[in-house]
Symmetry: C2
Subunit: 328 residues, 2 copies
């Protein structure tokens, strides 16, 4: 397979430039400074890139999706600003979170103004005849992402979470925004309904696989490149696929004790992480999740195969492989 | 002048029904229950009513603006949910605020999903050919209201606020959303640009007068009907028109001491409220604000006069008089 890294980085530069140009230090700086801070703090920019490439895959001119792509990246960062506050997370991408570097009201209000600034970037009807559909995709994503975060928070208080609940949550919290990114990109490229359906299915499957991969990496990543502590989800008491699957399968006394402690204390101390990892290994949970990831990955790839031939289609194949084969 | 109270209440019923019908207990209830709670807690519904009547004033069919009107009311309530949390206010309209009845993350996330639900109500291009303009008005209002709240919060930390800062803040925090309400109503009624300009000017002037009136009522309202404590702004250290004007005018030693204490301690104890009121009286500050209110009121009324004759134009005149002559 061709390596699209160089072409990807070229396109990424255009996205970064647009972000940089749009997110100015406007007045009042008390909200626009933290807005710029969070947008400047890096991140993989997967969502805007997905929008750009999907636009290319249906029409050949990715830059038609540029504003929509940046709108989605702003929406994504808005969710991070508010989620970090709600979860009381001190760091994100190796930097202090907004509510810690400034304060809680600033994190709330910065997130709020970001939503407005994201909407302000979406094309109007004079710029794109699918403007109403693009707005609808964007609004649906905003609503569903909030619902996903609500479910995620409910999980903390609810002992009886099962895998079906988990899949509903990641569908809303992760897959929905990736699907919206792809759909908005394709809409900006005037995709017909058949192409659009394929693109959305692709992105949805990619999104689920991507989140499962994220869960898996929490316990198996190469710590030096990962950017966060190994076992963070276990320490924080997150009910990920791994925990829920282990809870279904583990029967021996020691494993039950470990899991019961995880549930009762909403997480485990760091020194218990190796034991959790050994238990996952023992019960084949890492194999289970790898099988799941592979299954969503295959569907995503088969969706892509049905797209008309183009270098952007190839680029989506390359991106999908790159994202789902990362080990950090 | 005809009393439009009955007709107003009829229209209000339609707005309330639409709110009731739209804001359902959806899943997950952890956010849709507080969403319904805040929408159910009353309020004057001035913004959606303004949208409906302004639509009537340009086209004669107010119900064309119904969805947009409800979208604005949801946006307004979103700002209340987040402002109450940022200001740490325990009560709103005589009921516990969301962050107190539930918790802070719930107040944040409920506000966020409300923004999405508000956007979801705006007409698309198939429903209204001004859809893109309506979206733009709405987005601008969202951004500007956040900027207004940011300025308001900056005021708390800034000793040197002057009346010009105050006017910028209320323009953004209050007048912008009333202007958007009127503009969206008029857009839903396919107003031409001249009519639109008049309607927006009217609402802007009404908004400024309304906020000044609110500041005045804090110290002069009839407490039994007011629904909040007299002098609350003074107790909370809010830099309202009254305080800023008094700070410009008051020179005697006792008044300076009172004002310096207000500035240093970010507010005064309740027992100092009568002294503040006496000082305002002494320096003619109540007269000053009454003159300001009257001046914006007159401009608003003269904007209305230029509208084509209709019962909705009359209704706007009646509403303007009712709002600006209230004593609670």
């Amino acid at each position: 397979m061709t390596d699209y890294r160089e072409k990807y980085l070229e396109m990424l530069k255009i996205v970064e430039q647009k972000i940089d140009e749009y997110v100015k230090f406007k007045h009042p700086t008390s909200i626009y400074e933290p807005f710029r801070y969070i947008m400047d703090s890096g991140g993989k920019r997967i969502r805007p890139m997905l929008a750009m490439i999907c636009c290319g895959a249906v029409c050949g001119e990715p830059e038609r999706a540029l504003n929509g792509a940046v709108a989605i990246e702003i929406l994504h960062n808005f969710t991070l600003a508010h989620d970090d506050l709600m979860d009381n997370s001190p760091f994100r991408r190796g930097r202090q979170t907004i509510h810690l570097k400034w304060d809680e009201p600033t994190a709330i209000l910065t997130g709020d103004v970001m939503v407005g600034c994201a909407y302000a970037l979406l094309p109007n009807f004079e710029q794109n005849r699918s403007a109403s559909r693009i707005y609808e995709e964007f609004t649906k994503a905003l609503i569903v992402v909030c619902e996903g975060q609500a479910l995620d928070m409910e999980f903390d208080r609810k002992p009886s979470v099962v895998l079906a609940d988990y899949f509903e949550m990641i569908e809303k919290k992760t897959a929905a925004l990736l699907t919206a990114s792809a759909a908005i990109g394709a809409r900006c490229g005037d995709a017909d309904e058949d192409l659009l359906k394929l693109i959305k299915e692709y992105a949805w499957n990619l999104g689920i696989a991507f989140q499962l991969q994220d869960d898996l990496l929490d316990l198996t990543a190469d710590e030096a490149n990962f950017g966060k502590k190994i076992g963070q989800d276990i320490i924080e008491g997150k009910k990920t696929y791994l925990i829920l699957k282990a809870n279904e399968k583990a029967l021996d006394l020691e494993s039950r004790k470990l899991l019961d402690n995880f549930y009762i204390h909403h997480g485990l101390p760091e020194e218990k992480v190796p034991a959790v990892r050994a238990m996952m290994q023992q019960y084949g949970v890492f194999n289970d999740i790898a099988t799941e990831i592979d299954s969503f990955y295959r569907i995503a790839k088969s969706n892509l195969e049905k797209l008309p031939q183009s270098e952007y289609k190839e680029m989506l194949c390359w991106l999908t492989d790159t994202l789902l084969r990362r080990n950090y």
